[in-house]
Subunit: 164 residues, 2 copies
DNA sequence: GAACGATTACTCGGATACATGGTGTCCGAGTGACGCCGG
DNA sequence: CCGGCGTCACTCGGACACCATGTATCCGAGTAATCGTTC
């Protein structure tokens, strides 16, 4: 089992968009180039983020993507679920019920202990992602990156950015 | 992303094996029949559990599988990792470094905030699975299942079990 | 000079192929139990 | 009656196809800026 590559792409793109001035946009081409990704495939994931209400798209020339909400209001879990789906990691097929000596019975409506334990672990994972916002990521990035590099990035992005 | 079906199979089979008397074994055929699974495919997963040192196999007639350690000493995480692999859910490709303005620099050896956050969430998931042992699952099963059903299961298994 | 309109270039969006890994199956090697034979 | 041996049936183990999901791509629809024309 592994998470989709697109999750990493989406998180990084949202992080970059979070660094833009208010209402400014950045097109797919710039986001793909900045991260060295396939432009067309990245578009697919940006579309998923749009459908999830995390980012929004502006069509036409000078169009592009921008955040729909403040970085503090976007959790990592939202981005992960938008791209990777909201279905649980562990889907219990309740195979315990397939025993040849199983009769139709109400007691089997109770989920098995394995199901409960897996759900608890999954909740811990989701909770950890829910407590981390995009703003936290941006903050960490700014603190862990050199001043020169920060400015170079800002300039590179500013050159492709579209202010309204 | 979803966990392999085999994880559920493995957990249930280990749970059943945990209920056997000491040193007794149960063949693949019985385990598959009990859960309504494909015998040949289940064998593949049991093989993975064997390689992981969780269960052990006895060849020849009257052979089969049995636990290699006490149920209290086997965590759910071990079973999950044995079947699904020990690789991390989120493999950070550090695409932040692919930026066209990236130069070779030591600062990039520091993992990005996204990587750190994902690793923390994954650790929470693993920790939750590590604290749950097979003995806990067995205990929960015995408490949540009716007496009649428990006895029927025990008899069915006893009929296919091989005592040494 | 200003306003209107057609053109145009750029954007996103969904429908379409390819590849990798999980799913499922098969047959062969190995081993201990069983039955037979001889002492 | 007891011990040894050959046969056998049953077990696990690894190598081989199949399918679903993620990966990657393309082309079409839509939109706003731009430029030219006209008043």
């Amino acid at each position: 089992m592994k998470l989709s590559e697109g999750v990493e792409w989406g998180l990084h793109c949202v992080t970059v968009l979070a660094g833009l001035p208010p209402r400014a946009t950045l097109p797919t081409k710039a986001l793909a180039e900045y991260h060295g990704l396939s432009e067309t495939y990245l578009a697919k994931h940006l579309q998923a983020l749009t459908n999830a209400g995390i980012i929004e798209s502006l069509p036409g020339p000078k169009g592009g993507y921008r955040l729909r909400r403040a970085p503090e209001e976007i959790t990592m879990l939202e981005v992960v679920e938008a791209i990777d789906g909201r279905e649980p990691l562990f889907r219990c097929a309740e195979i315990r019920q397939r025993s040849p000596l199983t009769q139709e019975s109400a007691q089997y409506r109770v989920p098995c202990g394995i199901h409960i334990a897996m759900a608890r672990a999954e909740k811990a994972w989701r909770d950890a992602l829910r407590t981390q916002t995009i703003a936290d990521i941006v903050s960490h990035y700014q603190q862990s990156t050199g001043e020169q590099r920060l400015q170079e990035s800002a300039e590179w992005i500013a050159g492709r950015m579209r202010q309204i």
